[in-house]
């Protein structure tokens, strides 16, 4: 059974007051939601780490949740922020060390569609979204992405850079 947004908001409000049982229930629900949120939006082997990073950020910044507001848009903003951060770090760290497993499965559920990552990618120009998807999500190299899209290798790199920058500025966009 899925927990509704208002249930999650209430759990968080109680967690802010120090209720450990509510917090455990909230984190367990968030873990499932985040794993689904990220599915298909990052290499599968990175999902667990990203979910944990996001939960740690959520813990550190739990005071920024307003109990009078919806919970999932708050969590989604943090999740997007962490996702973009992960994409950026991955690009710097292992441009040639790419994941060889890939499953771009079904994306966001009905609740997440409005605040999902797919929505964010759709706000990018096609050229940027395409190379980000190929390199950062599907794990292609710059050369392979260049061959697949017809963009030159330098343009692919520029588009990845610009795409990440634009994603960061659109983090809270619907």
């Amino acid at each position: 059974m899925r927990t509704s947004d208002s249930d999650l908001a209430q759990l968080m409000a109680r967690a802010q007051a120090g209720d450990a049982a509510s917090y455990r229930a909230l984190l367990t629900a968030c873990q499932t939601w985040l794993a689904r949120y990220y599915r298909g939006r990052i290499a599968p082997h990175m999902i667990d780490d990203l979910v944990q990073d996001t939960m740690i950020s959520m813990h550190a910044k739990r005071a920024t949740f307003d109990p009078d507001r919806a919970f999932l848009p708050w969590l989604a903003a943090i999740a997007r922020f962490r996702w973009i951060d992960q994409l950026r770090r991955g690009y710097r760290a292992d441009e040639t060390e790419l994941p060889d497993t890939l499953s771009v499965g079904p994306h966001d559920d009905e609740v997440g569609a409005r605040i999902g990552i797919g929505r964010l990618l759709a706000l990018l120009p096609n050229g940027q979204a395409e190379v980000l998807r190929l390199i950062k999500i599907e794990g292609l190299s710059v050369a392979e992405a260049s061959a697949a899209t017809g963009q030159s290798e330098s343009l692919v790199k520029v588009n990845v850079h610009r795409g990440l920058k634009r994603l960061a500025s659109l983090c809270e966009s619907e």
Binding site: Q31, D48, Q52, I56, A63, F65, R69, A77, E172, S173
Partner: protein, 214 residues
Amino acid sequence: MTMNSPATIDALVAGLRPVTPVRPRNGIGLMLVAAALVSVVAAWRYGVRADIAAGSPHPMVVLRLGTLLLLGLATGLAAIASARPAVGISRSGWQWVLAGVLVFPLAALIAMAWNGSAVAMALAPDYGIACLRISLASALFVGGALTVWLRQGASVNPRRTGWLTGLAAGSFGTFAYALHCPMTNIVYIGVWYTAAVGIAALAGRAIVPPLLRW
């Protein structure tokens, strides 16, 4: 070291402490107190224009003070709002205020184009340097107070928050100077006030984001 998810949840639950939700009104209060403080200090140190003291300020003084106050409030409130992130929240109102404020430098450019020979006198570099010095010193204080408050927040766009913090600090800092500023010509205001707010905005963009990292 990466923990597995149950271990992460256990660790986070074990580390749970009660927290007070971040209240934007506290940030707004701090920003306004800081802005009021620098205005009072600047007025005490450098004096207030005679027309303001007499209660009948020159129309240009009303215009510039009102504009700076509006820009400071719009950008400061947007910076403070960014401390509580959420997908789907639009915070673009400040951009319209900023666009409106840009009428000042635009008018200055037009005036300079039509009255080139009078530009040097209108610019009054000695006063201009004092404008930058007082405005930026005041902005530093307001920006510092705002940044300290913002550090407890969770801005998911630190660059934008940096710009906004710099713009707010620069506006309030220049407001403090404008209470004293003896000049009323559009060239002077369009050039020096814009420079003061612009430098503060650039400083905010450069200094604030690393301080908001989380």
